[in-house]
């Protein structure tokens, strides 16, 4: 299989594919040798060949270590990717999730054998409900977009039960995340895109024009994707409720509001959270995430299954009561949940049903709860305050040398625009982004939201120090200054990375999506 030359193995060249490394028969002995498959099944049911490489463990370790070194993460540097909340991922979270008792627990383990996992789910759910002002959450959906879909399915079923199937319109501001309209379409709703006003917000007057007895849901995020707080949210919610519609809160920006303002108090009936953003779950290169869906009291019955049910423990259960006493004497705080027993509740006739194979991304629930413990209510409030402080600090400094189309107090992120710079020099937002890579930083989100031309959406997060922010500001200033003097330098970026700009047209026109044997 292997026909590599010394050139292929040179430093800095792309590492060979794992398929080009192996030699048949170079096996690792992780399990016993198996008998020939024909002893167990007729040959007609078996595959002819299994064309996979055999690699030594050392080769595999080197291969993936090399791949890791060609990958940029938060652990390597500043990651101001707007709308993605790339904050530090505390290692205690992973250590707790990796505990054998959580990691090796099979999902069909009976309730009485999985009380710890159920307690984690219960505590997390109750804490989220309080923090965001919702009656209840389901931890079932796998990610933000998945929870959005669950929320819209809840809305659809709710209206169907009420005989209001005429409600087929979902209102989505033009600043919304792309998943909002895509999720609405997956529920058969028609999407009405609502333009933002000159303040970058949804206007009460404009939304009233599109509201009617065909309004199902209004999907909003607050702060919105421009980083601005929708200060008329209660009036918007009242108007939507007035016509019998539901308010949906996209929780992608929840890092800006904890302990400050709650979706429930703003009038939202449905919401999702991206626990991987706000609650420090490693993004892992694009997932797995975790996306609980939350609802107000009138929608609780519709939540996806299962939900965790809790009951006070029987008083006669003396052994466990003693355990609890010992636990508290050992310095472990005795939470109310320590005196309860838990079960998974699947018997919910009005539920929209399950969204995924098994109950929840429980390993992530452990991580999120660990983060909740580390902060408490006061700590979470502080998290949001400092996220907003960091964003505004960067915003006022960046305004010295780049346009900021909405020059007012923002929340956890803000948008800058390279439109003027592009007109003057030809240097685009993309070029600035690529140039940041040369300085050991991730680029901000680019060209989103769609209403700001040459947009750079910057979210520093609260875990970054003032020194890091000052360095970022200095680098960005230098890039803009270079663009004005020698634009071609910026347009050539990046030059320090393992590859330069990639030919995306070729990738799309001549798709090569897998390795094939020669």
């Amino acid at each position: 299989m292997s026909t590599l030359t010394s050139n292929d193995l040179a430093l800095n060249a792309a590492p060979p594919l794992i398929f080009e490394l192996g030699q048949e028969g170079r096996a690792n002995r992780y399990v016993e040798e198996g008998k020939p498959l024909e002893q167990f099944l007729p040959k007609t049911l078996l595959r002819d060949d299994l064309p996979l490489p055999d690699n030594s463990e050392l080769d595999v370790v080197r291969h993936f270590t090399q791949l890791s070194q060609r990958t940029f993460g938060i652990d390597l540097g500043f990651y101001p990717l707007g709308s993605c909340t790339m904050k530090y991922n505390p290692r205690i979270n992973d250590a707790m999730a990796s505990k054998r008792e959580f990691a090796q627990l099979h999902p069909y383990t009976p309730d009485e054998f999985s009380q710890g996992a159920l307690q984690v789910m219960y505590e997390l759910e109750r804490s989220l409900a309080s923090l965001f002002g919702m009656a209840a959450f389901s931890l079932n959906p796998s990610a933000g977009a998945h929870a959005e879909l669950a929320a819209l399915l809840i809305a659809k079923k709710y209206f169907k039960d009420r005989g209001e199937t005429r409600r087929d319109k979902v209102i989505v501001p033009d600043t919304a995340h792309g998943t909002n309209p895509a999720s609405a379409a997956m529920c058969g709703f028609k999407v009405i895109s609502l333009p933002s006003d000159e303040r970058g917000r949804v206007s009460v007057e404009e939304i009233k024009k599109v509201l009617g007895d065909d309004t199902a849901v209004c999907m909003m995020t607050n702060p919105n994707t421009l980083g601005l707080f929708e200060d008329h949210i209660h009036e918007i919610a009242a108007a939507v409720h007035e016509v019998g519609g539901l308010m949906y809160y996209d929780g992608a920006n929840a890092n800006a509001i904890m302990g400050n303002v709650r979706p429930g108090d703003m009038g939202f009936d449905l919401m999702h959270l991206n626990l991987h953003k706000t609650f420090t779950i490693p993004h892992g290169g694009g997932g797995a995430g975790h996306g609980p869906v939350g609802v107000a009291a009138h929608l609780v019955e519709y939540l996806p299954t299962p939900v965790v049910r809790a009951a006070l423990r029987q008083a006669q259960d003396d052994t466990r009561a003693q355990d609890d006493t010992r636990a508290s004497q050992n310095g472990r705080p005795l939470a109310p949940s320590d005196t309860m027993t838990f079960s998974l509740d699947f018997d919910r006739p009005k539920s929209i049903g399950p969204m995924r194979s098994f109950w929840s991304n429980v390993a992530h629930a452990v991580r999120a709860l660990s983060y909740m413990y580390a902060n408490g209510a006061d700590g979470l409030k502080k998290v949001s305050q400092l996220a907003v402080l960091n964003a505004n600090y960067v915003r006022v400094k960046v305004a010295d040398f780049l346009e900021t189309p909405y020059p007012e107090i923002c929340r956890h992120e803000f948008v800058a625009s390279a439109q003027e710079l592009k007109k003057a020099t030809g240097v685009k937002a993309l070029d600035i982004a690529k140039s940041l890579l040369d300085h050991g930083m991730m680029a901000p989100t680019m060209y989103f939201p769609l209403i700001v031309p040459e947009c750079l959406m910057i979210e520093p997060t609260e875990t970054e120090s003032k020194e890091t922010l000052d360095h970022f500001i200095a680098v960005l200033r230098e890039i803009v200054e270079t663009a004005r003097k020698e634009p071609e330098t910026v347009m050539a970026a990046p030059v320090t990375t393992v590859v330069g700009r990639v030919d995306e047209t070729r990738a799309a026109r001549q798709p090569n999506l897998k390795w094939e044997p020669a």
């Binding site: 205690i92 977009a145 995340h177 895509a182 098994f358 929840s360 700590g379 305050q385």
Partner: protein, 453 residues
């Protein structure tokens, strides 16, 4: 916690912004201001967080029981090298590789994952992963609906009940109807009924699982495949035990156009249900309908090999309500784990694991069916799990086994009222002969005590 700000920093930054206090910075209209007291456990120092989780972890006693649980989540050996590599901070704390120049490593790993899935399934293309097996089925069904515009699906009752339930959740949103195909006395899909059903040419797709939920090998026979093709129905193969791909004839070889499944078996921890990693593979005709991320191989501006996210015009961030799916997050990190697992095991290791699963599950089947009053429900070739009929309520038998610290399997009555005396039992390479003996001894006692009552 995890905020580095000194009081002096905060003061200096507030001054730079020109506001007096953090409260002023986060001012909201009084109508929406937070007035409630938050009901959240007070902050704990890190050593107490660790103690608290130890306390809860100790209540997950199921991990120390003898277990024959499978049914869509499987216990397989995962070499420690996986965690060492996958938990490297560069992988763990990266996000979606939008900036290809600083994401070459992850992009290459995903390209390798796509290649592995194609090699294992025999298909032309595979995406960068979806949430799990059930959502893979739902997304695969949407691909078929988009391919031929039909609004009805045909699904075997031998497909994992959880997958079918999720498919129904999605279909309620899409206003798509689902008809189910019965299984036969052999515990496989009724192919005669399938042939008759597709004649109506109303189904977008027909979905079969192999090994099916009962563990039985359940594929389209040639005549059934011909009828499916003739009717313009898209054949979808569902794989919930990916380890079977190492041994069994590929879904491509029996005619699947779309293969959806769960790759948890490849080194991903059971973790009480997640996160796992779904995959979608298909023939190249479906390339522009496949949901989620795709990584392609290209070159950079100097002609060097380079990987990049491609065909993004299908995706929600570009196409919004006209996208092929709303999916944004994939399961990159779980896919990375699976890729490392496959690299470590290799052809030889995977074949060994598959053979050991076949062997131990047959040992299990032989041991339990030797007990008077216990039978195998079906006499059909199976992979690593088997339906055991105890001829009395399975739930009661399982409860008695639990008292002996044995998790005997999944009560099929939970999903199939007609199988309420049946238990789905699984054995893998990790199941020892001693455990099988312990189960057989306990089951023999439990069944006879019950029978005598």
């Amino acid at each position: 916690m995890y905020t580095p700000h000194t009081q002096a920093d905060i003061r200096a930054m507030l001054d730079a912004i020109g506001v007096g206090s953090l409260d002023e910075l986060l001012a909201v209209p009084d109508a929406v201001a937070l007035k409630a007291e938050l009901d959240i456990v007070p902050a704990l120092p890190e050593y107490q967080i660790a103690r608290r989780f130890e306390h809860m972890a100790a209540k997950n006693t199921g991990v120390d029981a003898i277990s024959f649980l499978g049914a869509g989540a499987y216990r397989h050996y995962a070499p420690p090298a996986i965690a060492t590599l996958a938990m490297r901070g560069e992988f763990l704390t990266a996000y979606t590789p939008y900036q290809a120049e600083v994401s070459q490593g992850y992009l290459q790993a995903i390209y390798e994952w796509q290649s592995y899935i194609c090699l294992l399934t025999g298909m032309d293309i595979a995406n960068a992963s979806v949430y799990d097996g059930a959502t893979a089925l739902a997304e695969g069904a949407i691909m078929a609906i988009n391919a031929n515009g039909r609004k009805k699906l045909l699904v075997s009752r031998a497909v994992d009940p959880n997958y079918r339930a999720v498919l129904k959740t999605y279909c309620d949103g899409l206003d798509v109807e689902i008809d189910e195909l019965a299984y036969t006395a052999e515990g496989t899909t009724d192919l005669a009924a399938l042939k008759a059903a597709v004649e109506s040419k109303q189904y977008a797709a027909v979905a079969l699982q192999s090994p099916n939920f009962f563990g039985n090998i359940d594929v389209l026979a040639a005549d059934a495949l011909a009828a499916v093709r003739e009717s313009g129905t898209v054949p979808i193969a569902v794989i919930s035990e990916a380890m079977s791909l190492a041994a069994l004839a590929t879904p491509a070889s029996w005619g699947a156009e779309i293969v959806v499944g769960e790759a948890q078996s490849f080194g991903v921890a059971p973790a009480y249900g997640g996160p796992y990693v779904g995959f979608i593979a298909a023939t190249k005709e479906h390339m522009r309908r496949i949901p989620g991320r795709l990584v392609g191989k290209s070159v950079d501006n100097e002609g060097r090999t380079a990987y990049v996210l491609t065909l993004q015009a299908r995706e929600q961030h570009i196409r919004r309500e006209r996208a092929t799916s709303n999916i944004c997050t994939n399961q990159a990190h779980c896919a990375l784990i699976a890729t490392i697992y496959l690299a470590l095991m290799g052809k030889t290791g995977l074949r060994d694991v598959a053979a050991l699963n076949l062997e131990r599950s047959r040992e299990l089947a032989t041991a339990v069916s030797a007990i008077a009053g216990v039978d195998l429900k079906f006499a059909t070739p199976f992979f690593n799990e088997v339906v055991v009929d105890v001829h009395q309520p399975a739930s009661a038998v399982l409860a008695k086994l639990q008292e002996r610290n044995i998790l005997g399997g999944v009560d099929l009555g939970r999903f199939y009222p007609e199988l309420s005396t049946c238990i789905l039992m699984n054995a893998t390479e990790l199941t020892s002969s001693g455990e099988i003996e312990a189960l057989a001894t306990a089951l023999s006692e439990v069944v006879h005590v019950h029978a005598n009552v």
